[in-house]
């Protein structure tokens, strides 16, 4: 549904988005991750046709956004960053305006408004003026505007920014529900959100795509992925390190915590340890040495870990 090919945007000498390519199909929810200023918003603005790209092509439902902007924009719903709204209108009036601009009129219009208000839990503020709304309601009004025409494609710039935890949860489940029949792109810098809602994630840093995969694939790239954390007592840290270090499958052992009588060690595998051989080997060592194992846990890898590893070196350099 969305195809982005070699997209580049330069503001003067500063390259905000640098040769970005990806695509999103129906039924996919793409999480767009990156530190502040990485080029997430700029990319989304180019996809939605707000700013023209310096180079590259964006195709939405087969329509080139630069050449056929109206056709492309018709297929998309867009929630810009910080959800801008006309503050002098009521929620209902604003949604009605957005529906009309999109060519939805008369009976269809009131149906579309009702549907959007229902989906975004706006019933209680329906006739309220936008400038009297709390941040959460404003955000949901912006969200309602984006789905007023039940678009095939949804582009959202930080849709959960500024919401309280319950509202975040609501918006995430809304995105998940809609993601079954639509193509969705949303940006965020909340990593748990990516795990909770996305089918795929792209990490962008300094205008470049630095990682692209399912949340599980990304997590597997984490240093921690497939390592084992072992808590044992009845021994000493040095001995734990030596004994576990002698396991063939392990590449490295670190002591995470050494508070007698408990020692917490992390054992990293030499290669991806699919069968759990390293785990069995750790158990063997523990029983041979009469350690009392209170906990052994296989790490899945963490999103924040991979995010830091990929994006931190640049930030530190600055």
């Amino acid at each position: 549904m969305i195809q982005v090919e070699n997209l580049t945007k330069a503001f003067g000498p500063k390259v905000a988005v640098d040769d970005v390519s990806f695509s999103v199909q129906r039924g996919e929810i793409l999480g767009f991750l990156g530190p502040n200023g990485a080029g997430k918003s700029t990319t989304m603005r180019m996809i939605t046709g707000y700013i023209p790209p310096t180079a590259g092509v964006v195709k939405v439902g087969g329509n080139d956004v630069t050449e056929k902007p109206i056709e492309a924009k018709r297929l998309m719903g867009y929630l810009p960053e910080s959800a801008p709204l006309y503050t002098d209108m009521t929620v209902e009036g604003f949604l009605g305006f957005c529906a009309e601009v999109r060519g939805i009129r008369d009976a269809d219009k009131s149906k579309a408004i009702d549907r959007a208000i229902d989906m975004c839990f706006l019933k209680s503020v329906r006739h309220q003026s936008v400038d009297t709304l709390s941040k959460g309601y404003r955000h949901r009004t912006g969200f309602a505007q984006a789905i007023i025409h039940d678009p095939d494609i949804l582009v959202m710039d930080e849709p959960t920014d500024g919401l309280d935890p319950n509202q975040k949860q609501e918006v995430r489940s809304l995105i998940r529900r809609m993601g079954q029949s639509k193509a969705i792109i949303f940006s965020t810098h909340i990593l748990e959100e990516v795990e909770a809602a996305c089918t795929r994630a792209i990490i962008i840093d300094q205008g470049k795509v630095v990682a692209n995969g399912t949340p599980n694939e990304l997590k597997a790239k984490s240093e921690l992925a497939n390592s084992y954390t072992v808590s044992v007592s009845g021994t000493e840290a040095a001995s734990v390190r030596d004994k576990l270090g002698s396991v063939i499958q392990s590449s490295k052992v670190t002591i995470v915590n050494d508070k007698p009588p408990t020692v917490v060690a992390r054992v990293f595998p030499k290669s991806a340890d699919g069968e759990g051989e390293l785990g069995r080997a750790i158990f063997d060592i523990a029983s041979q040495n009469n350690w009392k194992v209170s906990e052994i846990k296989k790490e899945e890898g963490r999103m924040d870990d991979i995010f830091r590893n990929i994006t931190l070196p640049d930030t530190q350099a600055q």
Binding site: Y78, L85, Y86, M89, E100
Partner: protein, 243 residues
């Protein structure tokens, strides 16, 4: 066409949703009345014309039209709603024209509300109503010309005050460059054709035609270009903002 009307409706409602519209209408009517009767000495003239009424319009509009139009685009920029509007499936031109029409309609409403003076002059005497109609048309075009300039200056900046001041300055130039007290001073200093050319591009010279009861095609073309060019500039500025 429908999308233009949707934009226009929203903008117009925006005026009436706030006190701005009512404050403006009251001030406009008070000012036109005060200028006509107190300074223009409508009664003492003892003439069945509305000259004392229309002669002040270029000056009254100079401040009131920029006040009406200053928010057109600067407000969109300040609120960030421009991003919303321009990612809707409508062309930039529809937005520009829709917004412009809304303000122009509002100013037309203000102008129409001056009808009691027309009734007054018809009650007191026997005026040439064709001249009055022509003058009203001239005033309508004049408001459009100022407004179009304000549309352009409001696209420049997210600050309404700057938009207002820029617009007043540009409109003032268009007034002064054809106003006899100024042209008389400049005349000996520059070649005659330059003075004539500049004077011909003044709103004063052109609105005068209408006030004399003539609807001259040249004056009509003049006003249409003074409306058209700044609207075109508005689109260039907005496109430039996004590039």
């Amino acid at each position: 066409m429908k999308s233009i009307w949707t934009i226009t409706k929203r903008e117009l409602a925006g005026y009436f949703n706030s006190p701005v519209a009512y404050v403006f209408l009251v001030i406009f009517l008070l000012m036109t009345g005060a200028f006509t009767f107190l300074i223009g000495q409508f009664m003492d003239r003892n003439q069945a014309t509305l000259q004392a009424f229309f002669m002040w319009h270029p000056w009254i509009y100079l401040f009131l039209v920029p006040a009406v139009g200053m928010r057109l685009w600067s407000e969109e920029r300040r609120l960030g709603t421009m991003e919303l509007l321009l990612t809707m499936p409508i062309s930039l031109w529809h937005c520009i024209i829709g917004k412009f029409l809304a303000s122009w309609l509002f100013l037309t409403l203000a102008l129409v509300m001056t009808f009691p003076i027309w009734i007054t002059v018809n009650y007191l005497g026997d005026p040439d109503n064709t001249v009055i109609v022509a003058s009203y048309i001239g005033s309508f075009f004049l408001a459009g010309a100022y407004l179009s300039i304000t549309s352009m200056t409001s696209a420049f900046t997210r600050n309404q005050v700057i938009s207002f001041i820029l617009s007043v300055v540009i409109c003032l130039f268009l007034v002064l460059c054809g106003w006899p007290p100024v042209t008389d001073v400049v005349e000996p200093l520059a070649p005659r054709w330059i003075v004539e050319f500049v004077a011909a591009s003044s709103v004063m010279t052109n609105v005068e035609q209408f006030n004399n009861g003539q609807i001259d095609s040249r004056a009509v073309i003049y006003f249409l270009s003074v409306i058209g060019f700044p609207l075109f500039a508005t689109s260039v500025i907005i496109r430039g903002l996004r590039a």
